[in-house]
Symmetry: C2
Subunit: 394 residues, 2 copies
Amino acid sequence: MFLASASPGSHLNVLLTLLIMWVAAKLMAELFERLRQPAVVGEILAGVLIGASVLGWVAPTEITSTLAEIGVIFLLFTVGLETRPLDIFRVGRKAGLVAVLGVIVPMVCGYLLMRAWGATNVESLFIGTAMVATSVGITARVLGQMGLLDLDTSRIILGAAIIDDILGLLILAVVSSVAEGRVDYLEIALTAGLAIGFTLFIAFVGAPAVTKMAPRIDNLRMENSFFVFGLALCLGLSVAAAYIGVAAIIGAFLAGMALAEATEGQKTMHKQMNGVTEFLVPFFLVSIGMQLKLDVFRDPSVLALTVLVTLVAVITKLVGGGAGALSLGWRQAGQVGMGMVPRGEVGVVVAQIGLGLAVINDALFGVVLFMAVATTLIAPPFLKMLYARDAMTD
Amino acid sequence: MFLASASPGSHLNVLLTLLIMWVAAKLMAELFERLRQPAVVGEILAGVLIGASVLGWVAPTEITSTLAEIGVIFLLFTVGLETRPLDIFRVGRKAGLVAVLGVIVPMVCGYLLMRAWGATNVESLFIGTAMVATSVGITARVLGQMGLLDLDTSRIILGAAIIDDILGLLILAVVSSVAEGRVDYLEIALTAGLAIGFTLFIAFVGAPAVTKMAPRIDNLRMENSFFVFGLALCLGLSVAAAYIGVAAIIGAFLAGMALAEATEGQKTMHKQMNGVTEFLVPFFLVSIGMQLKLDVFRDPSVLALTVLVTLVAVITKLVGGGAGALSLGWRQAGQVGMGMVPRGEVGVVVAQIGLGLAVINDALFGVVLFMAVATTLIAPPFLKMLYARDAMTD
């Protein structure tokens, strides 16, 4: 099997495809880092570049889509690993208010905009959902580079972004269930109940249980027992989530959350996990880019919708998130609102699921992808401006 | 595509398959560690257990075979990472003699045994080749646990095992080229020349070049630049090797060797690599086990051949390797010879390639797999006996 010349082109082609995808992703990541832009955007653009829209070097196959799925599962697992339930309780009411308003305003406005545009109910729900999640990574990196992670507003942003992720995934579970044609309110309520119950169970029962079990896991005879246990839990809960009808990524996220407390400070485990995601996540991001059909933007109405959706996405998060933090003062509210703007990879995941369910078409996929990428690129310079005074007085 | 319920059974089944394979591998690894046996054997047996021969839970698919191939590529990459060309030059003549005799004796005896048994020329060549490589990992772990890695004989064993790997891969390249029907001596010589040239080029030009470039790689803007560069080189040389007609794993091994010097002591890079292999290598080992058809051993002649091949594999390495170290004294020669006995994963790789090329059948695959596993299990207790006196006087 391993000799390409044995069955000409078969395994060699698979290897070549993986090589091109991976190296393209990493070259673009390096380029974007040099331009002081997020690497994640570079990796998505690498996919656009090598995909059918531009160079046509690589086409999606079952293999690439499986690797992409494993990649996004591990991506959400690592997001979960940074989500300690206790931390969320600690940031308390203020972050909760920011998160909830930062979810409702974009969701409702996005939905209404799409309905006004003439989109169907399900399409509008999906676009609204894609506007919900906040990508904490981008803002955290900007604030970290400025040395401002200890500010009150920084803590509120990070806490609210985590709550947004959880709310976003719950909304996604419900919206997907609507998209699959379950118009029965009982069924939708059941999905929502299952997703919420699963989340609460992990937060209140699973996480403490894992933390309590930690010394026993450490005592296992195998090497890297924590890493192995983590991966097994991640794959196991992904399959379990898919079985009960919510997305596999929700299970992966919850697995990470369950382990967050127990693995805090476990440097080896985090580095090993980092190795796995560093290898697999590019396949997810490049696959996303490969699925973008650039020619959808030739249609002026799609282009107009793209600009509108992006504008609404920026303004609604700014206003919704900001309103939640208004008690801190206007400047702080602006900082918090802007900190919530980047949608990053989570908005992209929603778009991908919508495309996979065939409830949004190539044009809407392009609109959402552009929105996710644009909000990610727009926010950092504004954030730096809004925080400039804090950085000076710091 | 991430919602299993969206397209019933498709992605959910893939995830479930991967979950079963991975968790079975890790459970058996843990069990074998508790029995003080090599984890690698446990993971292969996990494949036998869940495969068609016993439980029939999981069948090989294109996805599992691709993951297995990526797994074995990274496995050989990490073997290469431990292979510093300078170290091989240092252990010098004695290890070279042990390695060469430890290659020639098993290869020739294995070939002759199979010919005498009535096997074809190509079959016999493959079985002979599978007897060549030494799995350094098993012996290194036994000696490490006894605290004896600093002994002269230990250094010779480890050095010779590395040379064996290189010789084994070169022989594999030539034998595969024969197996593909290239009976033309010129073509076979060309393959051998390419494989040797490729190896020498990496050892004498590639490795020093990478070592020289190391500070520049470190200066790249991306995170984990060394790890990323390493993976890109691994995938790149694997594809290059497949293109010129030698196995992809040879390219992966050479990529590791090129990086060995530059990444020595780079703990983060090694831990990240460890994460990747810990996730992917089980798919290779379980796939191997899944391909074993247990009922081939119902045929008494196959059973007899299995016992014979295993005996010859043990004796020829013991005698061949030992003869090379005879100048150190009888006891030391015995230690070195026994240290070379385990075939481990490299013998398994050869069997896998033979099966993939359809030059060995299920029965012979079973014979080789049994030999590789048995030599790996047999050697450690004898090694402990042979080294008992050194451990006491140490």
